[in-house]
């Protein structure tokens, strides 16, 4: 198992601090952190909190890139702190800041309310095609049908894609990559018939057409959800939807 050798080195970590009761604006604070090759950036932060300065605040929990808590800017790139390693950032100074494009609550903690509201808005639950009782058993869904939306359902809500999205940076009303991917996830699920209820949101002013197809969101996604693709499929769907309205008899829902 000794693929990684224990050889403590020291890395300089600059952390953006912001305590609204103390600082008017965020300031950088530097720490010297000894590390071994198996230590993640999150473990570096834990070292700072445990040994150097207990007042540093950040969110974390699972340590294995699935709870989505520890998104932050690491040398300017949105990353999960638990799954990027100090050895890969050494030598040089490492800079850690709160996720871009979100208001900072404190230190590395951002205000998430906006995303939580958007998540509710898109109705991220099955609106069934046909209602089944429990005694009727499961809906049938072939592996191929599952494969259509499976990757889109892997979003951990870590918000890295929002920190990567230049449009969201300019206009936080934009519904954004993760929420759009979820719209697409439910749309592609053979059990769901709720798209008509979700589409107005997609082609609204804050919807898909805000996306300028930069694609950075997909690049930073730690779960390969590919929200950029989902947004752009939604653009096509949304355009189709818009034109179909003129082709159908009055009052019909596309």
């Amino acid at each position: 198992m000794s693929q990684v050798k224990v050889k403590p080195r020291t890395i300089r970590i600059e952390v953006l601090r912001y305590r609204p009761e103390q600082e008017q604006a965020p300031v950088l604070q530097a720490f010297e952190v000894p590390f071994t090759d198996d230590m993640s950036v999150l473990q570096g932060l834990q070292y700072i909190k445990d040994e150097l300065d207990g007042t540093l605040s950040y969110r974390w929990s699972c340590r294995m890139a699935i709870c989505g808590s520890c998104g932050m800017m690491i040398n300017g790139v949105p990353k999960l702190a638990c799954s990027i390693f100090l050895r890969d950032l050494y030598p040089g100074t490492l800079r850690i800041e709160a996720l871009a494009h979100f208001p900072i609550e404190r230190d590395l903690v951002v205000v998430m309310d906006d995303f939580m509201t958007k998540l509710s808005l898109i109705k991220p639950y099955i609106i069934p095609k046909e209602v089944r009782t429990l005694s009727q058993g499961e809906y049938l869904q072939t592996p191929q049908q599952l494969a259509r939306y499976e990757q889109l359902s892997s979003c951990i809500n870590c918000l890295l894609c929002y920190a990567a999205c230049p449009q969201f940076g300019l206009n936080s009303d934009f519904i954004g990559p993760a929420a759009m991917a979820l719209v697409q996830r439910y749309k592609l699920d053979s059990r769901d018939a709720g798209s008509a209820q979700r589409m107005p949101l997609v082609y609204a002013e804050e919807g898909v057409f805000n996306c300028t197809a930069v694609g950075y969101c997909s690049e930073v996604c730690p779960k390969d959800v590919d929200p950029a693709n989902a947004v752009n499929i939604n653009k096509t769907e949304s355009a189709k939807d818009y034109f179909l309205r003129f082709l159908q008899p009055k009052g019909a829902q596309a």
Partner: protein
């Protein structure tokens, strides 16, 4: 108006049950993290529910009760196995992306200690998908009012009845008092009291400690499950599904050592309940012996054995175990298709918890508990893999239904008196903040607690070591009185919360260690190397109850185990297990 306190998978399931049953009841869903961050998210392998024609509720019952070394409440297990499948179907209706067979029906996989395959799975992200399905489904119910990132510091109790909770709004440091006619605790386990563990940072036994401080006993706390296949150092989990899909465990000589521990024969494909598909306690114990014999692989993070998945092939690994591949690659630089993964046991699951009956009701009227924080009686001395994800659904719903029914019968508490209680709780919590007179660092106390827990109440235990751990925990609790919190601010003060959590952890750890010391036998996950190496049904076929005693260690008492139709038998696996099963064929099944 009625409200409740919850978190995570079981809490969400309870909230939905209440919202569906009676939309006029308001549910307060209080969680110290956003609900989709709760630790259910990290469960990988899957959830049990009988579906195959050649499987039966009786088999699930027997795997559970024998797996728990007969320390299970058998009537509760009957209810549990009878309701797992419908809860899995319910999740399917709500959108959970369960893996499928070519005909469109859901697929099941093998798991350790399981006679017939019955684990529903969503690749190896089952808990993640279950939690997000539950959370997203909960968003359609307007009666569920969420308190995201609110940290509970106390329960409100009036004339012995649960009446709500006091919480800190983490973002502002403000206190809120939430009055309720009933309260459900669904706060997960306490695995973080151990050094090497699979748990997220939030798994600190908060709900257990809250109930315990108010006199509700913690049951069977000495039983802590070590999961046999975890990453050395971090303790991160490699799911049992690795073995369910056919993975091997080998020692430094490439030898499948489990055949030396009554789990053989070693066949190319492990049969159910044999070899790598044995139960978790036995596999972790076998590791310990291999280590004693010097047959493990030594690395910078301690001894390890190899989890060998190479023969499964890259495609199957990608399809069935994508997250395992990702973890191995990211954290260890290993491609499991080419290289075996070093693994060792780590603390994983708290079998014991808040004492509740089959309706999830604790002895305190109005207080309910569900999920890992509770002891409803299905895990006994060792939990069967796949049962915990089913448990959060089956008993989340039960807790929701019964807490709602209870609440409807009741008038709200006396607001003035509850407010006085809440203010007292606030004063206690605030006394920790920015107290520069303290001398004890949180991280030092936490580390010493985790080390002593590992030494004294790990995979194998002795009276002397348990004694030493109990003494050390008592000292740590005393030192905790002088804990130092440097951070005096009110906005997102995580150091303050860590200090409160450490207080919870020390009390729960003490309940574990003292319960362990008193159990003078070996059963399931509680294995002693001193004079008590055998199971002793005459004296210890009993649940332990740890009752809070202030600054002193808990008082330990015992309560009967409900045995309805499966008298204690020999726990046998591998070929011996099959022989025993054949002999017991005519044994009566559940009614």
């Amino acid at each position: 108006m009625w409200r409740s306190l919850e978190r995570g998978g079981a809490g969400l399931r309870a909230a939905i049950a209440i919202a569906q049953q009676d939309p006029s009841l308001t549910v307060a869903l209080i969680s110290k993290v956003y609900p989709m961050r709760s630790h259910t998210v990290a469960a990988e392998g899957g959830a049990a529910g009988v579906v195959q024609a050649h499987d039966s509720l009786q088999h699930h019952f027997h795997d559970t009760v024998a797996g728990g070394d007969w320390l299970c409440e058998q009537d509760v297990v009957d209810y549990f196995v009878a309701h797992c499948t419908e809860e899995m179907v319910q999740l399917e209706h709500w959108g959970c992306p369960w893996s499928r067979k070519p005909d469109g029906h859901i697929n099941v996989r093998a798991f350790g200690g399981m006679k017939i395959e019955r684990t529903w799975f969503a690749a190896d992200r089952s808990g993640f998908h279950m939690l997000h399905t539950l959370f997203q489904t909960s968003l359609q119910f307007p009666s569920i009012k969420r308190f995201d990132e609110y940290f509970c510091v106390d329960l409100l109790v009036e004339e012995g009845c649960a009446k709500g909770a006091v919480a800190i709004h983490i973002a502002s440091g403000e206190f809120v008092m939430i009055e309720a006619r009933s309260v459900i605790i669904a706060t997960g386990g306490a695995g973080r009291v151990f050094r090497e563990n699979t748990n997220g940072g939030i798994v600190t036994g908060d709900g257990m400690a809250l109930a315990y401080r108010h006199g509700v006993p913690l049951r069977d706390m000495e039983f802590v499950q070590y999961h046999p296949t975890c990453m050395p150092g971090t303790g991160l989990l490699f799911t049992e599904a690795c073995r369910g899909e056919g993975g091997f465990l080998v020692n430094k000589d490439g030898y499948r050592y489990l055949q030396d521990y009554g789990l053989g024969p070693a066949e190319p494909t492990p049969r159910n309940k044999a070899m790598e598909l044995g139960p978790r306690d036995r596999l972790s114990q076998a590791f310990w012996y291999e280590q004693q014999k010097g047959r493990t692989i030594e690395g910078p993070q301690g001894s390890a054995v190899h989890l060998d998945l190479r023969h499964l092939g890259a495609q199957k690994l990608r399809e069935r175990l994508p997250q395992i591949c990702e973890l191995a690659k990211q954290f260890m630089g290993i491609d499991p298709a080419l290289t075996p993964i070093p693994v060792r046991p780590a603390a994983h699951y708290t079998m014991g918890g808040i004492l509740v009956d089959g309706q999830c009701a604790s002895p305190m009227p109005g207080l309910y508990a569900a999920g890992e924080c509770s002891s409803v009686g299905i895990h006994g001395a060792n939990r069967l893999g796949s049962n915990s994800l089913s448990e959060i659904c089956v008993f989340g719903k039960v807790a929701g239904d019964h807490a709602a029914a209870y609440a409807r019968k009741l008038a709200p508490g006396n607001g003035t008196r509850l407010m006085q209680q809440a203010q007292a709780a606030q004063t206690r919590a605030l006394s920790l903040v920015g107290d520069n007179r303290g001398t004890e660092r949180i991280s030092v106390l936490r580390r010493e607690m985790a080390q002593t827990m590992e030494r004294g109440v790990g995979i194998y235990r002795t009276g002397d070591e348990m004694h030493a751990t109990c003494d050390e925990l008592a000292r740590l609790r005393e030192r905790y009185q002088r804990v130092r919190v440097d951070d005096g601010s009110s906005v997102f003060n995580t150091e303050w919360l860590l200090a409160i959590e450490l207080g919870y952890q020390l009390q729960v750890a003490q309940a574990m260690a003292v319960s362990a010391l008193h159990r003078k036998e070996s059963r399931g996950a509680h294995q002693r190397l001193d004079d008590y190496q055998k199971r002793d049904d005459a004296n210890y076929l009993q649940h332990s109850l740890a009752t809070f005693a202030g600054d002193a260690p808990p008082v330990i008492s015992y309560a009967a185990v409900k045995i309805t139709h499966s008298p204690p038998g020999v726990r046998a696996y591998g070929a011996a297990g099959e022989a025993a099963d054949a002999k017991n064929k005519c044994a009566p099944g559940p009614p």
